[in-house]
């Protein structure tokens, strides 16, 4: 008997093909989509209270989007071949179309919106800064120094249109990731049309929580006072989106339990045993119920600023852990049981290998390093830029 295998597994199921890096990929794209949707709250839906986080949300989305394809590249045996999906696009493969979804989102939505929003600052900084960084700004101005009110008005209108296009694009980016899992009809753990919707809402939850935490951290680093009205509004949105996300996940669960199809006993056993810690304890209890309770408490009780900040920070960290656990349970959980429904295998996480824990940790730190560089280049407040 193969170590780690219980019952009957087909030979190609014993070893997991999709590792922690494939867990990271939907986690990172989720943060991107969620952060962008938070930014669009201010831009399109005119929620003025969240304005202090508008630029931070956009830069966070960009930093994470730049890293999003890296776990996939590391997973591939021949990463250089991934470029072929642009050269010879395969329209019948959802996975192969990822390149275009990614490129569209990066180039047409995020970079364009950030450039339009920062253009006046870039022009100003290309005149005031010195050294090599000045050349970066000069290139970014594209040779135009026009920041007249008329030009800014055009930027604003185009930026608004880009955000309008960006919202369905953000939905597409993450809904598509859920679609890839949801459309694997041979896998009972994945195959549900609810999957893209669940992924979408969990993306919004994780993105909003990440920007909320980053806002508190960046404010502390920049020695600025946290705008409590802004934080309260973000926390309120996080609470409501999280409620929808949790309801959808519970709907999926209840539907599975009530329907109890041929896969149910196997999956139920898996959740009670191998996924108990990561699904029931970490994802549902610590990563969902506790942050929901904390956020809910702040909605119904009057609490001091310090207490609310601490509660938001705790809820934000737990939410990020919970959503990571959700990605883990989907990706890893879907590979732990046999298609024969008669056995289970084990995922052995390696450390310093190509798909081990170490590259996963580096890939999670990398976007934060990119964000730090972006924040140096593109300051959050216009005052700072001036």
């Amino acid at each position: 008997m193969h170590p780690g295998v219980e019952g009957f597994m087909y030979p190609n199921e014993v070893e997991l093909q999709w590792s922690i890096l494939i867990v990271l990929y939907p986690y990172i794209t989720g943060l991107v989509a969620g952060a962008f949707i938070l930014a669009s709250l201010e831009r399109v839906f005119k929620v003025a209270a969240v304005k202090p986080t508008y630029r931070l949300a956009l830069l966070t989305a960009l930093a994470f989007l730049l890293v999003a394809p890296l776990p996939l590249q590391l997973h591939l045996g021949h990463p250089e071949r991934s470029f072929e999906m642009y050269l010879t696009p395969n329209r019948s493969s959802a996975m192969a179309m990822f390149g275009f979804v990614y490129l569209w989102y990066l180039m047409v939505v995020l970079l364009l919106e950030i450039w339009l929003d920062y253009r006046a600052d870039i022009v100003r900084m290309s005149q005031t800064t010195r050294g090599p960084v000045r050349w970066i700004y000069k290139v970014l101005t594209l040779g135009s120094q026009d920041i007249s009110p008329e030009a800014r008005k055009i930027d604003d209108t185009v930026g608004w249109i880009v955000t309008i296009i960006g919202i369905p694009s953000a939905f597409l980016l993450h809904g598509y990731v859920g679609f890839i899992f949801g459309s694997v009809k041979a896998n009972a753990w994945w195959s549900t049309p609810l999957m893209p919707v669940v992924f979408l809402f969990s993306a919004m939850v994780s993105g909003i929580a990440a920007v909320m935490l980053l806002y508190m951290v960046v404010s502390r680093f920049q020695k600025q006072v946290v705008d409590m009205r802004c934080l309260d509004t973000i926390a309120k949105y996080l609470f409501y989106v999280f409620l929808i996300d949790f309801s959808l996940e519970m709907l999926d669960l209840i539907h599975r339990i009530y329907e109890a199809d041929e896969s149910f006993r196997t999956l139920d056993f898996m959740v009670q045993t191998r996924l108990y810690m990561s699904q029931v304890v970490i994802q549902i209890c610590i990563g969902t119920v506790v942050p929901l309770a904390l956020l809910g408490w702040t909605q119904v009780r009057r609490l001091s600023d310090g207490v609310r900040r601490a509660m938001y920070a705790t809820a934000g960290v737990l939410t990020l852990i919970g959503i990571f656990a959700m990605r883990w349970n989907v990706v890893i959980g879907g590979q732990l049981f046999s298609k024969s429904y008669l056995g289970y295998t084990t995922y052995k996480l390696e450390f310093a290998t190509r798909e081990g824990l170490l590259p996963a940790i580096v890939l999670m730190i990398l976007p934060l390093a990119i964000l730090w560089v972006l924040l140096k280049l593109l300051p959050l407040s216009e005052k700072e830029a001036a």
């Binding site: 009957f8 087909y10 642009y86 050269l87 010879t88 395969n90 019948s92 180039m107 450039w115 253009r119 101005t141 594209l142 040779g143 135009s144 026009d146 007249s148 008329e150 030009a151 055009i154 185009v158 024969s340």
Partner: protein
């Protein structure tokens, strides 16, 4: 409106940069995508001719039957009548081209038969299968069974 365009110069430059990037991509694509790609499906059409040009390894059932009529007759009476000769004896095109010079090696039945008939719960229950160590203690199967018509 002319004034409006004057203030949108940066957007026109951006459009030109994007167009230049797209143009460079299309030139690269034209240079690296092989001719005939997509003509018959999502692959290079010429790959079919390349494969066709490779030497044939299998002689085919009819070629074997031309010489080995005794074995073909024995096989036709047993359950193995649906198994082609080269499934067990391996690809024999070179032997068929020059039967005297290249003699195939007779397969070791102690190994060969187990490939299909070793007991495995994943196989359908009606398929003949044995736990070979219990069944024969590792002895060659053709000590008792005739491989061309194995039923005793």
């Amino acid at each position: 409106m002319a004034g409006g365009w004057r203030h949108a110069r940066h957007l026109i430059v951006l459009a030109l940069v994007v167009a230049a990037g797209l143009g460079a991509f299309l030139i690269l694509r034209g240079a690296v995508v092989p001719a005939g790609f997509g003509k018959l499906g999502h692959y290079r059409a010429g790959a079919i001719d390349d494969n066709r040009r490779r030497p044939v390894s299998f002689a085919g059932q009819a070629t074997c039957a031309d010489c080995h009529d005794k074995q073909v007759e024995a096989r036709s009476k047993g359950k193995h009548r649906i198994v082609s000769c080269e499934a067990c004896h391996g690809p024999q095109a070179r032997h068929a081209d020059d039967p005297e010079k290249l003699k195939p090696v007779l397969p070791d039945t102690a190994i060969l038969c187990r490939r299909c008939h070793e007991k495995d719960p994943a196989k359908p229950a009606h398929f003949p299968q044995v736990a070979s160590t219990d069944h024969s203690g590792g002895a060659a199967c053709n000590a008792c069974h005739q491989p061309h018509a194995p039923k005793m």
